[in-house]
């Protein structure tokens, strides 16, 4: 019997953002010629926050200096490979910003102890409205589970949530769906946003989901999985294209980019121009 397809939340998000990017990244496995600095920055902040919570989880006092050391090491390592910065940002300015954001995060603790950090899940997808077993497994990692069973996702961003962004947040919906399928009830959810504003801000957005919401989420994941299985990979042009690592490959897919130029870009040449930085 064929094993069930397993799909992760980030794969679903990538596919929904641009199916062709999904193909380049997950099917063709094309190495990224560069990374957008904001993405790498978010990863470094996330690594330091993760370390902070794991220390607390282990019953140790998480020292601010140590949190910053984790961030500094991670951010330096991220910069070893080409990153593309926006006009207003640089390696040093983001390093400073990251330290300020982490200081704020640690000092703004809500007093709730974590019961799990980076908790993985993988389970058969079931439509919670109908009970139908869908032919795919879903996997993901929950950033933080707090003692009152609040599932938390942490994001860094340049600005606050757009209208409806909390309700549409697929990662939180998938966390809730996984929790419902595992434990039989719908958890509290929260999106913690660390904002890279001039003066960093921490916004905590509590939310929840209904069974109907989660049924919709399950069906959406199933449909994405089916679309991948049937190889529906098409571009989804949007503002994101200007900072897409696969911009050149996408142009080649359209047939408007000569192969030799693509090779040069894959080697890291002309990165700034392509990313619009």
């Amino acid at each position: 019997m064929e094993p069930k397809r397993v799909i992760s939340v980030s794969q679903v998000n990538t596919y929904l953002g641009c199916p062709l990017k999904y193909r380049f990244q997950y099917i063709d496995k094309i190495p990224r010629p560069w990374r957008v600095a904001s993405m790498a920055f978010g990863t470094s902040v996330h690594a330091a926050v993760e370390w902070f919570h794991k220390e607390r989880l282990a019953g140790r006092t998480a020292d601010m200096a140590e949190v910053l050391k984790v961030f500094d090491a991670d951010w330096y390592a991220q910069n070893v490979e080409p990153l593309v910065f926006s006009e207003r940002e640089s390696k040093d300015s983001l390093a400073e910003k990251g330290r300020a954001m982490l200081q704020l995060y640690v000092e703004s603790g809500n007093g709730t102890m974590p019961v799990a950090v980076e908790q993985p899940f993988e389970l058969d997808l079931v439509d919670p409205e109908t009970g139908e077993l869908l032919d795919v497994r879903i996997r993901g990692i929950i950033d933080l589970v707090e003692a009152d069973q609040t599932l938390v996702d942490l994001k860094t961003a340049g600005r606050t949530l757009e209208q409806g962004g909390l309700e549409r947040h697929l990662q939180l919906s998938t966390y809730a769906l996984a929790f419902l399928l595992q434990h039989g009830d719908i958890p509290k959810l929260r999106l913690d946003m660390l904002l890279k504003t001039a003066k960093p801000r921490l916004e905590r957005h509590p939310t929840t989901r209904s069974v109907e919401d989660l049924g919709w989420t399950a069906r959406l994941i199933r449909e994405v999985s089916l679309a991948i299985e049937t190889e529906h990979f098409f571009p989804n042009p949007s503002w994101r294209c200007t900072e897409c690592e696969y911009f050149a490959h996408c142009q080649q897919w359209r047939g408007t980019w000569p192969d030799e130029q693509l090779v040069a870009i894959s080697d890291g040449e002309g990165v700034g121009e392509i990313a619009g930085a």
Binding site: Q25, A73, I141
Partner: protein
Amino acid sequence: MKADQQLVRTVDVHDRVGNVVGSKDVVLYAGLLNQAHEEGLLKVCTSILQIPTEENGRLAIVKAEVQTAKGLFEAVGDACPENVDEFLAPHLIRVAETRAKARALRDAVNVGVVSYEELDGVSLNRDSSPGSGAPIAARSPRHSGNGNGTARSRSNGHSRPPRSSNGNEPMSEAQRRYLFRIMSGQGFQKEAAENRLKDLFEVSDLAEITKVAATKMIDELLNAAPGNGNGGNGAEARHLR
């Protein structure tokens, strides 16, 4: 005592295309586990430090704690598609867990010989014999395999097939970040960390480091970290998570 009941075995060492290029003494997980039970094993528990994802080069890292009457022994194990056989690639977390437990068990029962499960590029000899240089500390308990089925597929006496990867892929972003965090834990920051890594790998550019070399170095650095008892995950390694 039958030869196949010995704790220490001699295994073939292969190059990347499957040619036998030498031999090595190893211990088997099953034997380690048996020895630990005989010495009063109290607890074995594991925790996942890193889930393998596409973003981190599918590197799974698991920490194991083994408690015996002698104390608590900690170790980490890792697995990625480049350091396991192809048929194990879908089971990276389990391989990393077995490797972590094997390392912790070795410390617990005071066996310095590396375990078969920790290695890549080796297979049990057809007529695997007790190792020559290592102490024979215990009998393998129930069978001659290694406790997780890998022996059977490797013990056919033939060179193993070429791998899909040639082992020369550059280290993953996750590995690079991990190494810098280890360096940070050892007091090397930023450029000093980069220079230290270049020295350790004997390269002039970090881009020259392969995934396989990075895996081995991470393993060695974690094992050598001060303050981690018998090869565990102590104060230095706490930065790694």
